[in-house]
């Protein structure tokens, strides 16, 4: 694996590999010295991280969690902002997740407006209502975890556990969306005909969840259960 065994994480801004001496944390995310947000740069220099099971694992998948509690993260504000699609996640610094929320929200509305649901409109309408309330609560809980200084994954509670690091979900979704929109724009494909196949998304999601549940690597499952204990 790595040639430098003491790497504990990578800077979120520039991707530089960080060892225990140069790592800085802010809001549950790891930065290098240059990219740490200036308001927290002096206050949140974490104590040196002792040799933990995290450091022996793959450095990118499980950076050692710095436990620095922050009081400037407001779960209440996260809850309020969560009613606007994607904004709650953006408040928590999870931009990719906010993007996914916006896409999901838009997709449900598109299916509803496009007459592609074929009689399942009530189901989708309730799904939409549930999603509207899911987002603020999700943002609230993520903000709570950030307030307590616990690390949050970019895709926490979107994909099970650390599944994002095992299978590249986000890039694949991005590329798929890009291809679909491109084909649509070049008149090679009709978007309303694609929307008719929306249940395929459910099948794919179920298949992915099955895959994630059935094949977690032993070390990953260990760290998973540990972090879940921390959250309780």
């Amino acid at each position: 694996m790595s040639t430098q065994p003491n790497i504990v994480g990578y800077c979120r801004a520039c991707g530089k590999a960080l060892d225990e001496a140069s790592v800085r944390s802010a809001g549950g995310t790891i930065y290098c010295q240059e990219h740490v947000p200036p308001m927290t740069a002096s206050a949140t220099t974490p104590p040196p991280i002792e040799a933990s099971p995290y450091t022996s694992a793959a450095p990118y998948t499980s950076p050692a969690p710095p436990h620095v509690s922050r009081s400037d993260v407001s779960p209440g504000l996260a809850f309020c902002l969560g009613f606007i699609p994607g904004v709650g996640a953006i408040y928590n610094g999870q931009y990719a997740k906010g993007f996914v929320h916006v896409i999901l929200f838009g997709l449900i509305i598109s299916v509803l407006a496009n007459d592609a649901a074929r009689g399942l409109e009530p189901l989708l309408a309730i799904l939409l209502a549930g999603f509207v309330f899911y987002m603020p609560f999700e943002a609230y809980h993520t903000a709570r975890r950030r307030q307590l200084g616990q690390p949050v994954d970019e895709f926490s509670s979107l994909v099970p556990g650390h599944g994002a690091s095992r299978f590249p979900v986000a890039p694949v979704i991005l590329i798929a969306l890009g291809v679909i929109f491109l084909l649509e724009n070049l008149d090679l494909l009709d978007f309303s005909r694609i929307l008719r196949y929306w249940p395929v998304a459910l099948i794919a999601l179920g298949a992915y969840l099955l895959y994630a549940r059935l094949s977690p690597p032993a070390s990953d499952r260990q760290s998973n259960s540990r972090s879940e204990e921390v959250q309780r």
């Binding site: 991005l174 890009g178 929109f181 491109l182």
Partner: protein, 57 residues
Amino acid sequence: MKGNLMCAVQGPVMLITLGFLLAADQMGVIAFSHTWPVLLIVFGLFKLAERGFTRNA
């Protein structure tokens, strides 16, 4: 490290891609409103490559 290089070239390459698309738009080759998903694809490919490199590193 290769992952680092990948991160470093990401912004410039995205900018170059955007430049090409807008240039094609200006020269009347193809409208930008038709080609913008190329940016999504390039970004996704970068994320994919990044992940592959950090895993192998």
